[in-house]
Symmetry: C2
Subunit: 193 residues, 2 copies
């Protein structure tokens, strides 16, 4: 096994590999075609990432970096408002590839508990719930109902995302999300005036 630490060349190839993976998915990833596409060789990829699993791990981390951009700019204090903005981000055509990749990694981690995928789904739920919790008013955050509410919001967002990725029907899915969030806002203490 060779090195796996940071280096300029590593960053460069990681970025190129990430773009490749957004088009081709992670499941059937193979070193030789990937190397050819990014202008390198299997030898070098193995040298820079240690192993194929190391490369996949690096790619998953890279994908999460894209998601963190979203995390940074979500407001706090109103759960449904935050959810609306998150949905705008999810529905943006520019993010479709990342989100498809996300679904793939999520599904895979449900099946193979080992390997680079390990815990991806669980961690993802935890991360998103934490994000939504931080958007809730402090008094609602620690109640049992508060947990149910952010779980519900997360479910709507992800379910609608699945629909959108399969059908591309932005209008219908967006209408559904808006409808659902409006219903939620009217029924429960989601905001503190």
């Amino acid at each position: 096994m060779e090195a796996a630490k940071a280096s300029p060349r590593r960053e460069e190839l990681l970025e190129a590999a990430y773009r490749y993976v957004l088009d081709h998915g992670l499941g059937d990833l193979s070193l030789r075609p990937l190397a050819a596409a990014v202008g390198s060789s299997p030898r070098v990829l193995l040298y820079l990432f240690g192993s194929k699993d190391g490369l996949v791990r690096a790619l998953l981390i890279r994908a999460r970096a894209d998601e963190r951009e979203l995390l940074r700019q979500t407001p706090t204090g109103d759960l449904t408002e935050a959810a609306g903005l998150i949905w705008d981000w999810l529905a943006a055509p520019a993010h479709r590839a990342v989100l498809t990749l996300w679904v793939e990694a999520y599904a895979r981690s449900l099946i193979e508990p080992d390997g680079p995928w390990a815990g991806f789904a669980r961690d993802s739920v935890r991360e998103w719930l934490a994000l939504l919790a931080s958007a809730q008013p402090p008094g609602d955050r620690d109640t049992e109902g508060g947990a149910a509410r952010r779980t519900a919001v997360l479910a709507v967002l992800r379910g609608a995302l699945l629909d959108l990725l399969a059908t591309g029907d932005t209008a219908r899915t967006t209408a559904a999300v808006r409808h659902q969030l409006a219903a939620l806002a009217g029924s429960a203490p989601l905001r503190r005036p």
Copy 2:
């Protein structure tokens, strides 16, 4: 290429393969280990199913048969009531393996538009929306708002399912679904009195 039609032996092996796939997933399916597990040989599987893709197709159809059991027993006339019963089915531990398989096939079909997976996600959305539409009161069925409402219900169910499969937290996800459905029922014309 050899035969692909029905036969007693084919049914028998399909059922055994289906049980195997529920444990191991469809993505890394390989003929030799599968054949060994079901007490057969790659030669025979290829003979009975024509090709590996043919086998996968047969397995996906078999998986859908499990889902149709659900379809058969959902009531009509009240969307949220139907959704509640569907959730009970989704949350039942006995169905976890089928549903994980379903998520896998869904994700895969988003990435590879060709092969046996082709159209799985799109067809799945269409099927479920049709099921929910048939649970809506006739007057609500063909309106734009009606489409948004059943899309919203579908999103909640599938989003909560993703959560449940990753965390196993039946209590929290069920509470979220109930909360969400209650909010919906109080906000929009989901039932006709």
